[in-house]
Symmetry: C2
Subunit: 360 residues, 2 copies
């Protein structure tokens, strides 16, 4: 048992360009960074990137949740089951819980003297992420696609979901521009009706699309199952699966081929590992994605991605869309390949304080 002191910062990072998806447009990532410091000075880092649209939480909700712990946290961070119990023991913003989970698991792995990914699974040395292209005109998406391929990315994720006919054009334009051999994933972010989804998928199939993410509303699992039944392209559930019990429900309903895990949705790494275990038992593969995390939160995602065999699709790119690096250290990126540092815990982070404001 160890008393941990909580520190927190508000982080505001401008994006390189406005990022438009079916749920809205953003120009900035507003996150909260937490640090838990033990009496012996050992520190664990975590990050919350809240989502109003997906998780119904605001940055203020995250701050309110963390404020419960201004007096510190009494916890045995050498026990992952105690950590998971703690996270379930209070009401709070999902992404605030994710930040605390990350910081506690950072401490857990530091205590074992190993990089986190090695002690929670240890499956692979690196992962190849896609990079995401927001909704824009087809020729603009194609231009971005070419640029990213030139930078070395071999998988692209296209945001769709607002205009079925133009969505088909977008996929065609990007495939024509990048040629064969580059993976194209598309994400409708709930934007289509069941009929629209079927109509679009029917037409984009010939452009070699790897998967279609969240074609219909998050709560329409029957609709998603219906789309899936007719789709030659695998269907991935994103907004439909936040927690392990959501994953059970999608498995029961046979509503998806793939479940997209995000640490913000799952309340952190331990929830993510449970979703992966459920998916694996159900014969469903996992993808891992992100909200608007900086390098810090993305690094936690890369640890999970490197750890777990069942996670086979990687969409860990939010920090790459940001205009500034707030953290150095953590997961590197080189021609689409991400890899965590070979140091205990999550990584050796160095902070650029220009974008951070201490709040706790």
């Amino acid at each position: 048992m160890s008393k941990l002191r909580l520190e927190a910062w508000l982080l505001e990072i401008p994006l390189k360009e406005p990022f438009r998806i079916a749920l809205g447009t953003s120009t900035v990532s507003r996150n909260i960074v937490v640090r838990l410091v033990g009496e012996d000075g050992i520190a664990g880092w975590g990050e919350a990137s809240p989502s109003k649209k997906v998780l119904n939480e605001t940055i203020e909700d995250v701050i309110d949740t963390l404020t419960k712990f201004v007096g510190g946290i009494d916890i045995d961070y050498t026990s992952v089951e105690r950590i998971y119990e703690f996270l379930g023991s209070f009401e709070g913003a999902p992404s605030a819980k994710a930040a605390l989970d990350m910081a506690l698991l950072d401490l857990y792995a530091k205590n074992l003297g190993k990089p986190l990914w090695r002690v929670i699974g240890g499956y692979r040395e690196s992962v190849e992420t896609d990079i995401t292209i927001g909704i824009m005109e087809p020729e603009e998406q194609a231009k971005r696609a070419v640029k990213y391929v030139e930078e070395g990315f071999r998988a692209l994720k296209l945001k769709l979901g607002l205009e079925p006919e133009k969505d088909v054009e977008r996929v065609r334009a990007v495939r024509d521009a990048v040629g064969e051999g580059i993976k194209i994933r598309v994400d409708a972010n709930q934007g289509w009706s069941v009929e629209e989804a079927k109509w679009v998928i029917d037409r984009i199939t010939s452009y070699d699309v790897e998967l279609v993410e969240q074609p219909v509303r998050w709560d329409d699992l029957e609709g998603m199952r219906e789309v899936r039944r007719e789709s030659p392209v695998p269907i991935a559930a994103d907004e439909s699966v936040k927690t392990p019990s959501d994953a059970l429900r999608v498995a029961e309903m046979d509503a998806a081929d793939i479940i997209n895990i995000k640490l913000m949705k799952s309340r952190g790494i331990l929830g993510a590992l449970r979703i992966a275990a459920i998916s694996e038992a159900a014969g469903i593969k996992n993808m891992i994605g992100c909200m608007g995390e900086s390098r810090l939160g993305i690094t936690a995602g890369v640890h999970v991605a490197q750890a777990v065999r069942n996670i086979v699709v990687y969409d860990l790119d939010a920090d790459l869309l940001q205009a500034e690096e707030v953290f150095s250290g953590g997961a590197s990126i080189e021609r689409g390949v991400r890899r965590v540092e070979d140091v205990p815990g999550l990584g050796n982070f160095e902070v650029n304080e220009k974008y951070m404001k201490k709040i706790i």
Copy 2:
């Protein structure tokens, strides 16, 4: 990556007295002990206790499975996901896989320098096991019950399932003999029909029974659900759930309140952890039981029991019913309380070779 040499022994341990359950009677535990030895001399221990009735495997099947690996095993035992992948990569007797899983996880934890339970969950310092009383005349079961309570056990598991009317008498006789404050669990081992199960449960409810295990045939999940719907006593699935995908199915069907995990059924510790994750997400509690393991295999069960929060009922007693201690070290027993040693890996085992015959 490390090449591990495999050693194996046939173990035959007489029981203190014949052990009768609805599936048959046994007088001896016939198990296989394995040891995996690295090039650096580090060794991991595991045990297979095969079950013809539950897992359709014989001791010969276990030996056949292990014989595949006489040339050694190439595996990175610092990766639990690589271990799980390896266990799924060949056909073989479930309990042989469990023995290899144990030995590999023993090495995994030794490499981290921690007791296994601490690195796979770390939830509790000890567990209180029941002790099992085979099928015999009601007054005989009551006599055993009194003796065990005098020895300090505070939970008893009664084997039932062959004679509904006498089963009610058995529970009554034991409750009358031990009084209040002692937990009584009963296990029909698939012996009742749905109607018999309802009839018996209706009558034993007044004797404060904690749970009823596997009332009906393993493959009759609808029958089990029907029994459960009317039962005021929680229903535990045992033979119905061997693997993580079986656990998913029971969760989908709402067929049980509790799932009994056994390392021999789950092909080892990693399968057990997955079943626990699925159960937890479904709101189902776990029990942990055993086949006929000696102290070695039971110790692996105690590690899992101490690790996982969702495992709340403990039936880890097979070694206590055996006439001889083949292993010293491992999980201790004192007035029903079991606790593993505070040493890296599974434990510091010392072998009594009188009952062991080297086979590989």
